[in-house]
């Protein structure tokens, strides 16, 4: 087990909670006091993102992931898995990437 990381705990949904790393792009890092990387405990992608101090920028007030926020788990787009409910086994790296659009 990594030093300093909390041990996995059971979630309300029966999934084990794992420690994963979440990396966010510059604007989100600015909004998080300059931090670009977070180690969080979560059983799935939603839990990992909801643990961030910028959760309100990732989700709307209904809890829906904003449509232009792309999320990758170990380089795999969560849309090819179970989306925001994609389960985590631990030690994955989650990358949040803003869609490239606009001007």
């Amino acid at each position: 087990m990594d030093g300093g990381r909390a041990p996995p705990a059971g979630s309300a949904f029966g999934r084990s909670r794992r420690v994963v790393t979440v990396r966010v792009p510059g604007l989100l890092a600015d909004q998080a006091g300059g931090r670009k990387e977070f180690d969080v405990e979560a059983a799935d992608v939603r839990g990992a993102l909801e643990a961030l101090p910028v959760r309100d920028l990732l989700f709307d007030e209904r809890g829906e992931l904003r449509p232009l926020v792309n999320v990758y788990v170990d380089r795999e787009d969560i849309r090819s898995g179970d989306g925001i409910e994609t389960a985590l086994s631990g030690d994955e790296t989650i990358r949040v990437v803003a869609a490239i659009a606009g001007g």
Partner: protein, 362 residues
């Protein structure tokens, strides 16, 4: 305190700092990089910005240290029972004391009584019984104008595109449409409906009781009875009835400034909004000194020819004597006049597209 201009752009917030004569201006490094600043204002030493990002949504950013650090309003949103979600934040308007109002889309209003630390949705407006008759304008269904009576803060006016003007006499508990006399030329079945007008900007004169000015999609208007009746004004001297911003002179209630857009007026009843660039290929500010009965071009120092756009939040006036008038263009220039529009100077150029201009003291 020195004069300043808060310039909201597509790429953050710029502060222009002026000398005491408002003749020399410097541009600070941008703040709020990555955010579109639809409007920014200063109140009791705190900066507020209606900030939007096309990926991460809408919020209000607040700074209590002159813009060095900013704090985002988290949890800003619309309740589930409204079946609406927040689209954009548009305008922050200070009320009395610690009170603030926030206009947003779709057709939303928020209230804060703790200097913007928290915001409560104003359900009386969001669930207004006429809401099903509101329609979004090209910029969304935005609550863009909020005017609070300077001595009676229970009297509040708002403008929503395209729902019209509403007035509350009880601090926001109830709202009544106030659009009598304003046209909805795009509505062939009823050109003067109770509501649904495409109001572009509404300003309350701070000194003359009951007087408001309005630039509408379909005309320029003035009311002298708190919005009970509006008089259409643009027949004498304005080249187009269409435009977005309007500015007033706090010292002279009969003076106002508009920047007409669109083609030169054609047939009666023509609905404007086709071109959305300044009329006649020039950047023309038009001034009235007689309450809108007549208008004259007041554009010395402004570029000609020019085909530019000035948005609804893109013009402002200060509270100095003589008044300062300010506006910014989508092509990134900010212009200033300190002699009631007789002469204009360019205070900044090559900024990102200007979304809003607000006079401030720094």
């Amino acid at each position: 305190m020195a004069p300043a201009i808060l310039v909201g752009t597509r790429k953050g917030l710029f502060v222009l700092r002026g000398d005491e004569n408002r003749r020399k201006w410097t541009v600070d490094e941008p703040m709020l990089a990555g955010w579109e600043v639809f409007h920014a204002t200063e109140h009791d030493g705190t900066l507020y910005a209606a900030a939007n990002n096309f990926v991460y949504g809408a919020t209000v950013q607040r700074s209590t240290d002159g813009g060095r650090t900013w704090e985002r309003s988290e949890g800003l949103g619309l309740p589930e029972e409204t079946e609406l979600t927040l689209e954009k934040t548009w305008h922050v308007e200070p009320g009395q004391g610690d009170t603030l109002w926030l206009g947003a889309a779709p057709g939303a209003l928020f209230h804060s009584d703790d200097r913007g630390e928290s915001w409560e949705p104003v359900m009386s407006l969001i669930q207004h019984p006429t809401r099903e008759r509101w329609n979004p304008g090209a910029g969304g269904m935005c609550t863009h104008s909020i005017q609070v009576h300077p001595t009676d803060p229970k009297t509040i006016y708002i403008g929503i595109s395209a729902a019209g003007v509403f007035r509350s006499d009880d601090g926001g508990e109830t709202w009544a449409p106030k659009n009598k006399g304003t046209a909805a030329d795009f509505n062939e079945d009823d050109r003067f409906p109770e509501l649904g007008q495409c109001v572009h900007k509404v300003l309350l004169h701070p000194e003359q009781e009951g007087r408001l000015w309005q630039q509408n999609h379909c005309g320029v208007y003035r009311t002298d009875d708190k919005g009970e009746n509006w008089e259409r004004l643009e027949d004498n001297g304005l080249p187009s009835s269409f435009g977005f911003p309007i500015a007033i002179n706090h010292l002279k209630p009969d003076m106002a400034f508009v920047i007409p857009e669109d083609s030169v007026r054609g047939s009666e009843g023509e609905v404007g909004g086709g071109d959305r660039v300044t009329t006649g290929g020039r950047l023309g500010v038009y001034r009235t000194e007689d309450g809108g009965r007549s208008w004259e071009l007041a554009s010395n120092g402004l570029p000609d020819p020019a085909w530019v756009e000035v948005l609804r939040e893109g013009m402002s006036s200060d509270r100095r004597d003589p008044v300062g008038i300010y506006f910014g263009t989508k092509s990134g220039s900010v212009f200033v006049s300190t002699d009631e529009g007789d002469e204009w100077m360019e205070a900044a150029r090559h900024l990102p597209a200007v979304l809003s201009v607000e006079a401030a003291e720094w």
